[in-house]
Amino acid sequence: MGTETLTLGKAINTGLRRAMERDDKVILMGEDIGKLGGVFRITDGLQKDFGDDRVIDTPLAEAGIVGTAIGLALRGYRPVCEIQFDGFVYPAYDQIVCQVAKMRYRSLGKVSLPMVIRIPFGGGIGAVEHHSESPEAYFAHTAGLKVVACSNPEDAHFMIQQAIAGDDPVIFFEPKRRYWEKGQVDVTAELESAYPLHKSRLVRSGSDATLVAYGPMVRTAMDAASAAAEEGRELEVIDLRSISPLDMEPIFESVRKTGRLVVVHEAPSNVGMGAEIAARVSEECFYSLEAPVLRVTGYDTPYPASRLEEEFLPDLDRVLDAVDRSFGW
């Protein structure tokens, strides 16, 4: 066992390193990822060790990063693109939804695009606009893409490697406000033994209500569950991990047990992941529900100025308030 205490950021860095060691077709590309190691230092030291042919500082153009990664994937490489911030993925949006997502379908399966697009996402770091967004629903809506979000160092370390090793294109969301949070990671464990990439995970058992979250909100949900426990309510917490495809079975199972579901995410509620989960739960668990599925989300406004983000982002109190409302039904 080679268990180490790592921050989530360092866990991704180590995961990238292991992926690059395992397969010399894995190359990283993005703005500032070389010498600087990326603005969050996630690629720190990788260019030094793997050279500038494998850790490529690109021109400042997101469509170019993703579009050329497609060509490299066609050539047999496994490119891992870094989009510097969530709000800058939109110039590449066309390449992602029209090209990355559809090449396999279009070619009747003759072409694979084994590529990963890493996006630091979400708020809570006091940044200026375009640096705190949660665009996951745009991608989850597009068939052909897989979309995941890690929430803790152990998962981050393995999920990035699994995303790179798979033959489908993956949009890989990293909760930037959690980059500095630490956890135990078995950095020597075999990838094959890791928890499956597209399975959700029960992270806390409880019998009274279910919380579903992903990415940065898993910690918030866990904190809410601890606080609820002090008040005598046992909340079950599920970390979605995979946003597309969704692993709904564990959620159905949990709701059949607890009868109550609250979905928590930072993205606005309108047409968001919470809506999808609520719809599917109402289709499958209608007679088990004691209350409507409730959502705790960012508001349907642009991400506000940073002095307002504490109001905008779901926090422990808003989650507990929703749980109360569920019980008040």
Binding site: Y77, Q99, G166
Partner: protein
């Protein structure tokens, strides 16, 4: 096909850039006049055998016949839409024949002539336009990517592929690989194309940008896309640009071959502007009489890419009436065969719409496939 002489590369762009702005007869590399006379160019030449010249003629005629058949099939309701290459045969056959087996091409939706030169069954793009599938040839095996409808997107894919060639160490030698990216004049306004120019230049990629300036982006004339001749854009990105007579198959071949050779030898990208004209409609849904006049059309008819090769063959006594007749009969036979095969093309199995979404299966797609199949089976004769 023999190899054209490799020209000292930067001089052509210099020669071509003497004049700026639009002129009635733009300066370009030409090796064969509209009357079928061969002309010398200081930087470019070809050394085709008689047999190869006849082969080029056969290619041009065949490609035009197949294209005309597809247009007719659309008119008869057998294809949803068709994007004709009429008038652009020389640009496509010239550049397509200049490719070596190991070179990779990234087409738009109009490159049926290049597809033909790559040895792909000409039925292939018709399934796309008939709505049976979205292409279906193997892009890697044939070194010819799928058609791309979003304007300009493929230039970035070509650039990435070219970067991969370099990473693989397959440049700098005579048997190195090169990439060609096709796009139209309208595409040069797209961000993706400009980003591709930057990338290719910065990474010195083995890539030829082949722009067929057919004068229109649907209804918009080329003046709506730029204020300077297109090939001159390249200099702003730091690589050579060349304008070639796009209706001259010999010049298109020579210029493309030289640019591909330069690319494979590690000298980086070239932008080729093939100055040509789209004789038909943009697609079968278009009405070109609304935006261009007969006089313009007539002036381009006189520069037809096929008649000038025919004139050359006649002038130099390389072919007789029997040859031209045989080529015409053979092209017609291929077109007829294409028609029969289109008419007998089966509709896809409905549940096949769930195939090939992911490499690894997706529970959502699989659940929907099962639902669909159960639903379809609930009808008599359901699939």
């Amino acid at each position: 096909m023999s190899k054209g002489d490799t020209a000292p590369r930067r001089s052509a762009s210099k020669a071509a850039s003497k004049r700026v702005g639009s002129t009635p007869e733009p300066e370009y590399v030409q090796l064969l006049t509209p009357d079928g006379e061969r002309v010398e160019h200081p930087d470019y030449s070809v050394d085709f055998s008689d047999e190869e010249l006849r082969g080029l003629y056969r290619d041009l005629v065949t490609v035009r016949a197949l294209d005309a058949e597809a247009t007719a099939l659309q008119r008869q309701g057998e294809l949803g839409i068709w994007a004709s290459l009429l008038g652009q045969e020389a640009a496509q056959v010239g550049s397509g024949r200049a490719l070596r087996t190991q070179d990779m091409a990234f087409p738009t939706y109009r490159e049926h002539g290049v597809l033909y030169c790559r040895g792909i069954d000409p039925i292939m793009p018709l399934s796309l336009f008939r709505g049976v599938d979205q292409g279906g040839w193997d892009p890697i095996a044939h070194k010819f990517n799928m058609y791309t409808i979003v304007i300009g997107a493929q230039t970035l894919h070509a650039t990435g592929y070219a970067m991969g060639i370099k990473l693989d160490g397959k440049v700098g030698t005579d048997d190195g690989e090169a990439v060609i990216a096709y796009f139209g004049d309208g595409a040069t306004s797209q961000g993706d194309v400009n980003e591709a120019f930057i990338w290719a230049s910065v990474y010195n990629s083995p890539l030829v940008f082949f722009c067929q300036n057919n004068q229109y982006a649907i209804s918009e004339p080329v003046e709506r896309q730029m204020r300077i001749p297109l090939y001159q854009r390249a200099s702003g990105f730091g690589f050579p640009g060349v304008r070639v007579d796009g209706n001259d198959v010999l010049a298109c071949y020579a210029v493309t071959r030289a640019a591909l050779d330069a690319a494979r030898l590690g000298q980086g990208p070239t932008l080729i502007e093939a100055y040509t004209y789209r004789m038909g409609a943009h697609t079968t849904s278009d009405d070109p009489t609304r935006y261009r006049d007969t006089a313009e059309l007539e002036s381009w008819k006189a520069k037809d890419p096929i008649s000038r090769v025919k004139a050359l063959l006649e002038r130099e006594g390389l072919a007789d009436e029997a040859f031209f007749a045989e080529v015409a009969v053979d092209a017609r036979a291929q077109a007829n065969h294409l028609r029969e095969r289109v008419l007998s093309m089966p509709d896809p199995q409905p549940a096949s719409m769930f195939d090939h979404v992911y490499a690894e299966s997706s529970p959502l797609v699989e659940a929907q496939r099962a639902q669909f199949q159960a639903y379809a089976a609930s009808f008599e004769g359901g699939h």
